[in-house]
């Protein structure tokens, strides 16, 4: 299994992502700096990590989404390579136009940092098939701009197409229709505000994120 993590100035969950990927695949991911213009060949999975790329200047994820590496990221998305954007990575993927909607300031205006109960909306995606036997999982959230917004027509469309992967059980940020994670129409790009890479080790607050990585990468054993 060949994986990569894209690193922007201000990414701060890139090493958590790398740890999670290595735990699941047994191989360290390639860490790809945003100024690169090409991702490695033959990738099975790409992760766009959380953090505060470019200090959230202009809009969260806006500047990072115009980085040199993003052209190839878009090409890989088009080619069907599975990719996951978490938190700031979700913001970057929406700003890059790879996912519908956008992430606005939390409705409460407060930064939220808590363990969020999530409902697995569908196990019928390549990222969630490992949750077929579970409806509710707990994954940490930590963000200021996680308030998912899209117009009603877009929301109706992504709901109708089964692109809502996760919903909040207790909406922490005002997100439209409690949406916590969405995929693209083709189903190979997932963005979510909660951090599954922070939930892969029982010693660090739970393992409910593990099934997501195992769904898309397979189990090591």
């Amino acid at each position: 299994m060949k994986t990569a993590v894209i690193v922007f100035p201000g990414s701060n969950c890139d090493r958590d992502a790398a740890m999670a990927l290595e735990a699941v695949t047994g191989v360290k991911p390639a860490m790809v700096w945003h100024e690169e213009t090409e991702l490695p060949e033959g990738l099975d999975f790409i992760m766009v990590p959380g953090g505060f790329s470019y200090g959230d200047y202009l809009r969260s994820g806006a500047v990072a989404a115009r980085s040199p590496i993003v052209n190839d990221l878009k090409a890989k998305a088009e080619a069907g390579v599975p990719m996951l954007g978490v938190c700031n990575g979700f913001q970057i993927l929406t700003e890059a136009g790879l996912l519908d909607g956008t992430l606005m300031r939390n409705a409460s205006l407060h930064f939220v940092c808590e363990k969020a109960p999530l409902l697995v909306e569908t196990a019928n995606t390549r990222f969630t098939k490992g949750y077929a036997d579970r409806k509710e999982i707990v994954i940490p959230v930590a963000h200021h701009d996680g308030n998912y917004f899209a117009d009603e027509a877009t929301l109706d469309r992504i709901e109708g197409e089964g692109q809502v992967a996760f919903r909040y059980a207790n909406n922490p940020n005002g997100s439209a229709r409690d949406i916590a994670g969405v995929t693209n129409a083709a189903g190979n790009v997932l963005g979510m505000m909660p951090h599954p890479e922070r939930a892969v080790d029982a010693d660090h607050g739970g393992t409910d994120g593990l099934a997501l990585f195992e769904s898309v990468l397979g189990k090591l054993s």
């Binding site: 929406t94 917004f149 005002g174």
Partner: protein, 80 residues
Amino acid sequence: MKARIHVYLKPGVLDPQGQAVSNSLNHLGFDEVAGVRQGKLIEIDLNTADAEEAHSRVAEMCDKLLANPVIENYDIELSA
């Protein structure tokens, strides 16, 4: 030439920051404040004298980076 770009939320998009500012103004005794919408003002210095070209280039900048079409509109003002 200078461009002043106002980026503001589309009607109907919730603006919690504007609401917080509105509440604060009410607390300060400005009872006439019925609502606040908060946007951004971006000023750009341009090395061009052609207003028409400047306008179309700045609009392209807005579409590609400065505004998010999902939630924001923009107005462009050019001055010498």
